[in-house]
């Protein structure tokens, strides 16, 4: 495995993780694309030194199993990305933006907690 490959995989993982930490779904999709390709390269890299043919019966042959694995992984990554893009599109048509929001119920409970410090009684008290 060449040093350039190692650096490339590292950069893909790094940039992918950075993009993934954003709230905008479009960036997340891009980040996932980079991460998925980083992993694909990682698997290709495990098949041995570059430049060898994936054939049995030669010296220093490249292992063909990782290449079979990576083909499957590419197809799966493609499907997931397509689904995420559809999700981002739907989110954009509903809300006009594609930022990932906080959970409504979580926000409600958090605000209740703040008010409970002042004068509003606890929910359990209301119930009984």
């Amino acid at each position: 495995m060449s040093a350039a490959m190692v650096v490339l995989i590292g950069v893909l993982f790094g940039c992918g993780t950075y993009l993934l930490l954003h709230r905008t779904l479009t960036r997340i999709v891009l980040g996932i694309g980079l991460l998925a390709n980083g992993v694909n390269l990682l698997i290709v890299a495990t098949s041995g030194p570059s430049g060898e043919a994936p054939l049995v019966g030669r010296d220093g042959r490249t292992d063909s199993v990782p290449q079979a694995l990576v083909l499957t992984a590419i197809v799966i990554g493609f499907a997931v990305t397509a689904f995420l893009l559809a999700l981002a599109w739907r989110s954009w048509t509903i809300g006009g933006n594609d930022a990932v929001e906080d959970d409504l119920e979580d926000r409600r409970i958090a605000s209740e907690r703040e008010r409970a410090g002042t004068d509003v009684p606890d929910h359990e008290d209301v119930e009984s």
Binding site: T46, P66, L69, V100, D103, E105, I109, E127
Partner: protein
């Protein structure tokens, strides 16, 4: 090629393809039931075969040697999980049809549901890590679609969290598979125990941790559980029931496989910490909520802790207890979500400030909630008590007093939050008032009620038949703690 291993996987896939072509709803339903029924029959046949002579059934697709082909492996644990999963899929499908909600009316519901069934079957039968990854993807892709099928605002929001987190999990899993291959030159679970054992300690621990993180996200253990209570409550009840009953348990199943087969004698202190924190944080989350579906969602997390606890203790008795706990947990959890679905269908909500007094409208519905709820909390004589008793005994036998104490505290807190649901939804004034002349609840939802009653009866049957079932689980654990048998069965002549 052993056909019993191929059918649970192949029939649902075939059914999915057919239901994509045939769009008539009645035909789709018929195809789904036939495919799942056939799958169930094959799974039961596998279970019988595995239980009869205590063997491990192996099928190498295409007849290639084990090192280069896709292997399907059925031992006691996977056969048991398969039967429970497929039976549950049939029941919940009946429930979903009875629900008369918009999700089952979508022409894509049945194909996706069947793909989910195929993915689950493959995950339980996969004989190598890469196929496990493909099975996860199959299952997850189907679950993404089911979760966001209606495309409402809340579903898209929660669905995004769910999809992104699970895609990250897939990336971690694929990385782990790649690195395992790089380190050992194989992904076959039968070759791996020997080759992983030969690796330096550091590499071994690293690979183990990567797999733990990947399966930990799937199983929703602390601190990787946060996506679950966030996304599950927005899905239709039938979908949440399947997710709650089965998807996280696949994570637990793979954790069991990883820790017993691939990395036996791994770091159990870490697992025990994870288990304790998962139990307590999960149940505290449940106690802070005021809506039935959310409370139940947090309980999924909390109960996963008990299974990880058994795995962390790691003795044969503890593994047996874990397997029994899995067997009890899947129907109980699903039954609770189905009851929640009936309540939601009847009153439009399960928030405590907008419901109440359902026990006055239908005593049977209240009983259908109460029986699995008490079982979940671990009160005798229900199956949850037996599962927890076995875990506690195994814990004391191994001297793990701290985690046992934490588990018992978690049980009490579970009982408190179940009481909270009881007070909020079933006790008190009838609220909201039913329409004029509408008596009872269950008679208006016959199919939903029937499948819930069957499931609750099954949870009671687990308690009644606990003796033979526990013997089966103990035999499954005996297979699990001896990886040599698995290796020999797969690689042998």
């Amino acid at each position: 090629m052993n056909v019993v291993l191929g059918l649970p996987l192949g029939l649902p896939l075939l059914g999915a393809a057919l239901t994509m072509i045939v769009r008539a709803r009645a035909a789709q339903r018929a195809i789904s039931f036939v495919a799942l029924g056939g799958s169930l029959a094959a799974s039961v046949a596998l279970l019988v075969e595995v239980a009869r002579d205590d063997s491990i059934v192996v099928s190498r697709l295409g007849g290639w040697p084990a090192a280069v082909t896709i292997t399907l492996v059925g031992d006691r644990l996977s056969a048991m999980m398969l039967v429970i999963a497929v039976a549950l899929l049939v029941l919940v499908l009946a429930f979903a049809i009875g629900q008369r909600a918009s999700d089952e009316r979508s022409p894509f519901y049945h194909p996706v549901y069947l793909v989910l069934a195929a993915g689950l079957a493959q995950a339980f039968l996969a004989g190598d890590l890469f196929n496990l990854f493909v099975a996860f993807e199959l299952m997850l892709m189907a679950s993404y679609v089911l979760l966001t099928l209606e495309g409402t605002d809340a579903q898209i929001r929660a669905g995004t969290t769910y999809v992104v987190l699970n895609v990250v999990e897939s990336v971690v899993l694929l990385t782990a598979v790649g690195l395992v291959f790089a380190a050992t030159g194989t992904v076959s679970m039968a070759d791996l125990p020997e080759r992983l054992a030969a690796l330096p300690d550091g590499v071994r621990t690293g690979l183990n941790l990567l797999l733990l993180v990947a399966f930990g996200i799937k199983a929703a253990v602390f601190p990787l559980f946060f996506w679950l209570p966030d996304s599950y409550p927005t899905a239709p009840s039938s979908v949440t029931a399947i997710f709650a009953g089965l998807l996280t348990k696949v994570g637990v199943y793979t954790l069991i496989r990883t820790e017993t087969l691939l990395f036996p004698g791994g770091d159990s202190t870490l697992l025990l910490w994870i288990a304790g924190l998962t139990m307590i944080i999960g149940v505290l989350g449940a106690m802070s909520h005021l809506e039935m579906k959310r409370i139940l969602s947090f309980h999924i997390v909390s109960q996963i802790g008990y299974m990880v606890m058994g795995l962390g203790i790691g003795t044969e008795a503890a593994i047996a207890a874990t397997v029994f706990f899995l067997l009890h947990q899947i129907p109980v959890k699903t039954a609770l979500f189905l009851v929640q679905g009936i309540v939601e269908r009847e009153t439009g909500t399960t928030a405590f400030d907008r419901t109440g007094g359902l026990v006055h409208r239908s005593g049977l519905l209240a009983a259908l909630f109460l029986l699995p709820a008490l079982s979940l909390a671990g009160l005798p004589p229900f199956s949850g008590f037996l599962g927890k008793l076995a875990l506690v005994q195994a814990g004391f036998a191994d001297g793990a007093h701290v985690i046992v104490t934490v588990a018992l505290v978690g049980s009490i807190l579970t009982l408190i939050s179940m009481t909270k649901i009881w007070m909020g939804v079933f006790w008190g004034e009838v609220h909201p008032a039913p329409p004029e002349g509408r008596e009872g609840v269950l008679r208006h939802h016959r199919l939903m009620s029937a499948s819930t009653i069957v499931l609750v009866a099954a949870t009671l049957a687990i308690a009644v038949l606990a003796g033979p079932l526990y013997d089966f689980c103990a035999a499954a654990a005996a297979q699990l703690v001896d990886p040599g048998r698995y290796v020999e069965a797969v690689l042998g002549p």
